[in-house]
Structures are given as structure tokens and as C-alpha cells.
Symmetry: C2
Subunit: 376 residues, 2 copies
């Protein structure tokens, strides 16, 4: 509702800024400790899915993203509303064209919800192909991530949504850190606890996202045909039997058998009942292993819960597991042993069997840590 | 838990029969008025999906189906349990083979739930093809209806489930009547109120069922490729945005454009919220009409609510609408004007533009009425 003064008359603007300021002050209690980047990256915010529930949080998101080193621009329809959608279908589709024509290098979704499926056939894919951008968002945005890859071959990112993650009262430092590093091409390796992981040491195209959204693209021109891929999945509010039914669709459609690894993120906010009688997500994983001869890794800190890392979709990555840890090698790199720990003490765990011959120590708190290149 | 004495020791059996008798007596308060058929039809009950929630109701279903003119046999695994499923995957798949080898002409599901997706690749389709049966069930059974058509070309029925409908305390007479007529090949025409119906007068292969289950088969070998079809859909507990996302999948997969008509059954048990802001099932229908140039008919009395007609899947039927009514011509027939009303006063509304030149009166209570041939 605010953020772009050009679109507001002064009275409206004053009220909205005041509303936003209240949230803003609260949110500011959690300062960012990150040193500012010298070069701000242009970041264009669009709302391709649901209407913003609290539009005033867009200002907070704008401020925090600015603090994180981005030059934020907000699409004119980002805070519109049409029924449950952020704007009419045509307006939301056009926002992608406006973003493509803007000189911002990054295009970020404000939030998810539902709405991208409605506009996939209205998006000007040729225009987007001619003007490559770094796209990021998650949940419903999975439809765009996958459709972009299918229609143009371009990779993109799944990661935080602007308002949900940076317009919140509390911003998760790790979500922010990994997001910034991914946007700046500094993210090399993600390591995470994966106690229930099959042994794997592979490379492949990383793809996936929200399972329900991904499955809703099967049979359509918007699902990329990925062979030898590393498929990662998450979902929210889906009972394990529904998760399993979707996995079965991937199985019977011949998609799972083409993958080199299946990586499970977080499956959250479902309720088991007495009738389930022992059936749960662990059983779904057990069943999956009985049906496919592909390494299955669980524990990826990605989903609708408290943590979501930023991951490329459509990019070749490496994956390896060892001693209850999984290593997702986003960017291959070469360095000597000394650089394996950065100056902030973040352990640069790089899945060395894939990348280099350095000697590693086990990280003391090995939860979703990111290794990165030096700041530019 | 009961019903087949051979599998129970006498103590167990006595207890279970007592349990069942209590429900049975209550259920018997609603007598069937139908005259018995002289020739009972063999009907084999299987549980291909969820475990029976109240297994003792199987006896009630058996009794009522017997009263309705069926010689009921119960598969040995029909009242088993494996987690939330009626039995292990292999056992549930084998039940189809046992049914195929039985001399019963009808195979009926005891209930839906979830479980057929898990066993589609374990079912012996060749055996089923060699031993054609009249299959019936709904909800999760849609997976079987469609897979059977895709794998063998054989039609089947969607209609009541044995325990859910005939093991209930109250059995709906119209559900029972239409089911019996369909099983005996007596069902000719179904007419229903369809106030929001586009004009249509077409013939095509009738197919569909539960929307979520149907969409879970897209991209797999278990979805039949129906051209010039009449697609009917229902669902339960799915928010309109999820229904729409599934319709979009059918749209983008090129499936909708191949149909001659889309018929909406009941979509029940979802909750709209304030955030929907005017978005509802009516908007979904409106949106669909804006995207496809295919007649859309609503009001089919089929779904998870109080009423579900029995419909063939994979059979050529006719559909016509006129003056707020829709006519689904299941079986073409020829007769003179006098036979348009049967001796029970049921109006034989036959969509005459498709079938004959008889003169019709408007039915006084035109809700889901069935026309039928004389009892045999």
C-alpha cells in the first residue's frame, strides 16, 4: 500500500507510512550486523500470486532489503488486490514484463499463496528470455521457477519471499545471509544435518521446490524435463498420504527414475490422526526407498517452516553425504586448506570428495551453514 | 472383521456378530420397499484403499446388498488392516485378481480413502482384461476406474461404496435405486437440475470422477487419453483455489480442450475465508468458462455429499441441456410416448433430441431422477 510515493496522494501516503512505521520500529529492534556492500544490487519486487495480507509490511521489506545491500524498486501492482489475488491475471503477468524491462538484476516475489498457475500462459516468456534476470521466491513461485526453466532454459532461485521473510518482525539472519550470498554469486556450499541420508556423491541439475505446485505442472509445457537431476521437495499443510500420492505421480510418470538423488526439505503443518495407525512421513520415505533405487536424503533446511535456504533451480550442483551430514555444492571452487574456515568462523564445508583435497574438521554446529566467497 | 465365518474362530465370530447386530437392527428400521429380483447378481466386495473404520458395518452392507438382489461374497482381505490401509499393498492388489477369478459379475469397493495409487503398478491388468467384471466404487476408486480404462479399454462404474453407502444407518433410496439399475443394465437416462448449464447436445465418452485423484494420474500410464469426452468431476475438502489449480493442470495439459462437455458434480466441505474476498467456486466456474470454449454444466448429483448417482466411466453417452435441466443419456433406447412415464410415476426424461421423438412433460420434482427399463 505504500513504498512508491509516486502512486499515492500525500494524505494516503502519510497514513500508510505511519502504519508502516509502527511495524517498522518493532522490526528494527533486530539490527542487521552485516557490513554494507559498496555496490547495491537492483532488486525489483513483484506480486505474482496472492494479495499482500498486510500491505504495509512491503515498506519494512523494502527497508530491510535496502539494508542488506539492494536497491529496491516496487512494481506498481505489487500491492494491488483482485479477489484473493495481488491483481488481475493480466496485470500480474504484465508485472513480469515490467520487471524484465527494468534495469534491476534481481526480480523477487513479495509473497506466495496462489496465482501463478493462472498466468503461466499469459507471461511473455520470449521477453524474459531476452532479458535474463536473477529470479527468487518460493512456494507458489515454484510454478514460475520451473516454467522459466521449461520455456527458456534459464535457471532461477528459490529462496525467501520479500514480505514473508524481510517484512516480518523478526528476520532470520541465516535466511538473510544465505539469500544475500546467493544473489551475489558468493554461495558455494550448503551443509546440513542429514541423519537419514543414503550414501551419495553425484552431480546433477538441481530442481524442485514445492511438491504440490511441481506436481500441478506434470503433463503441461511448464514442467522442465530434467534427466540426471537432483530433485528437492518441500510442502506445507499436506498430510503424508497426500505427499505420498504426489510422489507416486512422480514415480509413475517416470520422473523419479530419471533423478540421481531425491532431497527432502521440510514437510510441515500436517496433522496425523488415530486412523493413520503408524503411517507417517517416515513411512512415506520408507515406502519411497522400497520403490526407487535412488539415493534419498532428508533434512534439507528448506520449506515453509522457520528456515529456508536459497537454492538455484536449473543449475548443475554436486551432492554428497558423509557421517550424517549432507553437502550441496552450489558452486565448484578450488582453494587450499586454510580457506576452509572464513574469518567469521563459519565452517566452509565443501564436500571435498567432489571439489578439492583439503583436510576438514567437523563443524561444531553443522546446521544449514553456508560457505561463501570473500565479499566483493 | 466378520462376514466370512470361515476365517473366524467361533468366539471371535460370536462377539463380532453381536457387535454388528446392534448396528444392523438400527439400520433395519429403514426397510427397502423394492421388490426382490428373481435372479441375484454375484457381487464381490474388496477393500483396495483405506481400512474399514467400523469393520462390523461390512455385515450390514452385505445384508442390504443381499436385500437389493445381490449374491454378496467378501474378499478375505476386505476387513484386514495395515497402518491406514485395508491390507498390505500386495494383498490389496491380489484382491483384484481373486475378484477376477470369482464368478461374481460385479466387483465393488467397500470404501475409498487412500491406497489405490500405491498398487496401480501391482495390479494384474492382463488377468482383469481376460475376466471382464462390472466394477463400482468412488472417490479413491477413481484411480482404478481410470487405470482400468487406460490399461485395458474396459469401462467400469463410479457409484456408491459398499460400506459407506449400504453399511450406513440410513441408506438413500435413490442412491440404491440408481445403483441397482446401473448394475442390471436398466439405467437409461439421468436428469438433474442444472441451472448454470451451457447449451449442449452432444455425445461422447463419459469419464472422470474425483478431481484430485484424476489429476494425480496425469503424466502416468494410468490416465486414459479420452478425446471428444464428457468429463465429470467432483471433490471434497478442497478449497476452490485448489480445485482451480487442478482444472488449470487439465487445461495446460491439453486435456480440457479435447472434451465436448465438462460436468461439475458436487464440491463439498471446503471453507472460504475472509481473505478469499469474493473468490469462490462460482468464480472458478466463471474463470473456466473464460479460458475454454467448451460447454460447462453444473449440478450433477454426484460427489461426497448426500447424493451420488452411479455412472459409467469409459462408455459413450449423450448429454443435453434444456430449460435448466440436464439429461445424461446412459443408454440409447427407442420407445413410444406412453413408456415415458413408468408405473411408479418416475418420469422417463430421455433427452429426446438425442434419442427419440416422443412428447415430454416437465417432471414435477426433477432431481436426479432415473429412467429405467422394466425389471427383468
Amino acid at each position: 500500500m505504500v513504498s512508491n510515493p509516486k502512486r499515492q496522494d500525500s494524505n494516503q501516503l502519510e497514513q500508510l507510512v505511519n502504519d508502516a512505521q509502527i511495524l517498522f520500529d518493532e522490526a528494527d529492534d533486530v539490527p542487521f550486523t552485516r557490513e554494507p556492500y559498496e555496490n547495491a544490487l537492483g532488486l525489483y519486487l513483484i506480486s505474482p500470486s496472492g494479495a499482500l495480507i498486510e500491505p504495509e509490511r512491503l515498506v519494512i521489506a523494502e527497508h530491510k532489503l535496502t539494508t542488506l545491500g539492494f536497491d529496491v524498486r516496487i512494481d506498481k501492482a505489487a500491492d494491488s488486490r483482485y479477489m484473493r489475488f495481488a491483481a488481475t491475471d493480466k496485470e500480474r503477468a504484465k508485472a513480469f514484463s515490467r520487471a524484465a524491462k527494468d534495469d534491476a538484476s534481481i526480480v523477487m516475489a513479495t509473497r506466495g499463496g496462489y496465482g501463478l498457475s493462472r498466468i503461466l500462459h499469459h507471461i511473455d516468456w520470449k521477453l524474459l528470455e531476452k532479458n535474463p534476470k536473477v529470479y527468487v521466491g518460493y512456494s507458489d513461485f515454484t510454478a514460475f521457477n520451473l516454467a522459466l526453466l521449461a520455456k527458456t532454459g534459464l535457471p532461477s532461485f528459490t529462496g525467501p519471499n520479500a514480505v514473508g521473510d524481510f517484512g516480518a518482525d523478526m528476520v532470520d539472519d541465516l535466511i538473510a545471509d544465505i539469500f544475500v550470498e546467493a544473489m551475489r554469486g558468493e554461495l558455494e556450499i550448503l551443509s546440513f544435518i542429514a541423519e537419514d541420508a543414503d550414501s551419495v556423491d553425484e552431480e546433477g541439475i538441481l530442481w524442485g521446490g514445492n511438491l504440490a505446485v511441481l506436481c500441478s505442472l506434470i503433463g503441461t509445457p511448464y514442467l522442465p524435463k530434467i534427466k540426471k537431476g537432483i530433485l528437492f521437495l518441500e510442502d506445507v499443510n499436506e498430510h503424508p498420504y497426500r505427499v505420498e500420492r504426489m510422489l507416486i505421480q512422480l514415480l509413475h510418470a517416470g520422473i523419479l527414475s530419471k533423478q540421481k538423488a531425491i532431497v527432502f526439505g521440510e514437510f510441515s503443518d500436517y496433522k496425523l490422526t488415530k486412523f493413520d495407525n503408524g503411517y507417517d512421513m517416515a513411512e512415506v520415505i520408507r515406502w519411497l526407498r522400497s520403490e526407487v533405487n535412488i539415493p534419498v536424503i532428508t533434512g534439507l533446511p528448506y520449506g515453509h517452516g522457520e528456515m529456508r535456504v536459497t537454492l538455484p533451480i536449473g543449475k548443475k550442483v554436486g551432492i554428497a553425504t558423509e557421517d550424517g551430514m549432507a553437502y550441496l555444492v552450489i558452486d565448484k571452487h578450488e582453494h587450499d586448506v586454510e580457506t576452509h574456515t572464513d574469518n567469521q568462523g563459519v565452517y566452509l564445508n565443501c564436500g571435498c570428495s567432489l571439489v578439492c583435497q583439503g583436510k576438514h574438521e567437523t563443524p561444531s554446529k553443522p546446521e544449514a551453514k553456508a560457505s561463501k566467497k570473500n565479499k566483493k
